[in-house]
Symmetry: C2
Subunit: 209 residues, 2 copies
Amino acid sequence: MSDGLTVPFALAAGLCGLATATTHLILTAGLAEIAAGSIAMGLGGYLAARGDAEHFDNERIREQVEVKTVPDIEEKEIYELLAEYGVSQNEGKPFMDALKKDHEKWVDFMMRFELGLEKPDPKRSYISAGTIAISYIIGGLIPLLPYFFAATTLTGLYISIGVTAVALLVFGYFKSKFTTDRPILGAFETVLIGGFAATAAFFIAKLFA
Amino acid sequence: MSDGLTVPFALAAGLCGLATATTHLILTAGLAEIAAGSIAMGLGGYLAARGDAEHFDNERIREQVEVKTVPDIEEKEIYELLAEYGVSQNEGKPFMDALKKDHEKWVDFMMRFELGLEKPDPKRSYISAGTIAISYIIGGLIPLLPYFFAATTLTGLYISIGVTAVALLVFGYFKSKFTTDRPILGAFETVLIGGFAATAAFFIAKLFA
């Protein structure tokens, strides 16, 4: 969503730096960017999530084969892992013996504890693709809307800066609220990135104008 | 990198659909997009990596406090986790008693096993930002270069399609080689996404032309 807000906003702002820019051109380029960005990132997100799921399945099969063919080595690996947490072979033995009773659970434990992998939700790849694409489209339309209604590209640019700054502040605040304990700093950082990206795009366009 | 190849390529291709498109306009919009995209995604990657590191630190402090203040509840949590792997409280007790001897290691075990979190490399946020930004710039320049040298925008578009398709094939092949066991399928999927994104951008631009 923040990419969707930032990149089309910055591109439109950049194109305002062109002497020949018209509202028509800015909207066309902006909408083309939104189409390209939402598809590329949505499908890219789908492939990444599907890749994670395949990676998990492949690793699980590998562990299953290892537990069956070289159980001694796999057992030694668990004792080595336990040793990192200060648990000796003697102290870990009852635990290890219990684990060995069920090979599937032994494999599950290796997946989680040795490889740090969790089974990805099979539906995640579709949800991930859809969420990314839709957020990019919604995010991208916000900075473009002012150009639809403004009389000149410059008026559009000013309103777009204001609207996008508010949207990035709100988005940055709530995103940071969920991941860190400094939502206000996060809000300003998100706006700063958008401003920095738009300034760079503007000066690159000016350089070519 | 695949976003960097795909989005500027698709945007440039889309703008070729405009009757008024000049090489100058396509290059300006393309370079402005690369500037905006590399900054937005690079700094976005930096914030995401830093957010992960903060999340880990916050969770670790929370676990430290819990192990100190409510050790009984934390102990019960570990027995519940072990039960999921078929290990009874009796079988897990020697292991649990060893873990309890060192509170830091107990916390480390909870981080890894209860929360599935690994300590992020503190340098990762900078490396992540730099890698994303530089790959986006390199990826984005590949589809734009043909327009520099081509006589008309249409010739530029044709060469750009060829060059970008080859670059996406090569990139998709190697990326899929590392994450799945189907690199050739992955190569074609990556090309398909690029083609799909460019086609959508082209028709959106045509619609407005």
